[in-house]
Symmetry: C2
Subunit: 226 residues, 2 copies
């Protein structure tokens, strides 16, 4: 059974790739070069894809900076630092990129239909990223309907199903899951800041570090500040 | 009121752009350079956007050839010629590109949310292109739900609505509509073959020519063969 796995190179999508393997899928990874500031994650995606022995790893390139509007793609907006977890969860964050998961899932759908895959895996999470509209179950359900109606394969009754194994997990539970699956965390990348060493103080680094700490584990990735 | 208009440079999307203008919208056109063989349509899109005095015309570039599987992007598959209209409508055609409208609408959604547009116009047509799964009303309805749930703007109750003014029109009716709107047909491009002059014998040229002929009108575009 073939599966397309959305792989950013971060902690969540890496865990999802290992989950898809464990589910018995032949995995086809897809990553996106959208001129994100934290381009280091693309190297991590390639390293993880290699370690997980995927059948193929496609990197789709396009330019979302055209539209600005997010701290992840617009150099004029600062990536927040040193915020508390409750501040992060307060509202839709500046790191929100308009329609990002919709674009990602659309390309994954095209890839899945071309190779005849039955599944698309995505590491969305409704808890730690509650601020993002396109990480919630009702949104995934709506995309599932698009997958069914928007493809030749779906119209012919061979549904391409969206799998979201992390959707109801806390970050600590994702790390526990990844540990049982053997995810090489030292190869993953979460930092939004765009430097060569993870900053340790952006929202993404903080959420990751807090989760490892809560489990009494050490994150094997080096950080500039902790 | 701002509107994003998907503009391929073809007859249908050009009519849609003029319809959006007539509806009182400030128009932002978006086109896609996906390494399609019929790249001439991008020049047509630029010419039409200019003539229609759009506020902005974005061309998003990405590579769908990665996946092959369609005569429009895979040089190894022949574009059908000299087929009868009933043969064209028989089944999902080889010119089908997996998830193409889903990818296009996703980028349009990102653009719409970034500029604060209330509408996205797309020239899908359920009659002449009945073979394409992603041109049908139920598919558009599913994407509308993604627009609502997958964006910050939609979650806050400011819906971005998908307008499909051509969905129930026949090609002849689209031409009649375009004539009343003043669409400059000579600037549009429909041919799939990828040459400098429209071939006149691919499905797309044939449908267009047949519609002009049925109305007793002359298509102002030059053709290699008629």
């Amino acid at each position: 059974m073939k599966a397309v796995v959305l792989l950013s190179g971060g902690l969540d999508s890496s865990a999802v790739l290992y989950q898809a393997k464990t589910d018995g899928c032949e995995c086809y990874a897809i990553s996106f070069d959208y001129q994100q500031r934290h381009r280091r994650e693309l190297d991590s995606a390639a390293a993880i894809a290699h370690q997980a022995s995927v059948v193929e790893h496609q990197v789709v390139k396009f330019d979302l900076r055209l539209w600005g509007g997010s701290a992840l793609t617009d150099n004029a907006i600062e990536v927040p630092q040193h915020r508390s977890i409750s501040e992060m969860q307060d509202r839709i964050p500046v790191t929100y990129v308009p329609a990002r998961n919709t674009i990602f899932l659309s390309f994954a759908l095209a890839y899945a239909e071309t190779i005849g895959a039955e599944r698309v895996y995505i590491g969305v999470n409704a808890l730690d990223y509650s601020g993002y509209p396109d990480c919630r179950p009702d949104y995934i359900q709506a995309m599932q309907e698009v997958f069914r109606l928007g493809t030749k394969q779906g119209r012919e009754g061979k549904q391409i199903s969206i799998f979201t194994p992390l959707i109801n997990l806390k970050k600590t539970e994702i790390i526990q899951l990844g540990n049982t699956l053997g995810v090489p965390w030292q190869e993953t990348w979460s930092c939004y800041a765009g430097d060569d060493v993870a900053c340790g103080v952006c929202d993404s680094c903080q959420l990751r570090l807090a989760a490892f700490a809560e489990l009494g584990l050490k994150d094997p990735l080096p950080y500039a500040q902790i």
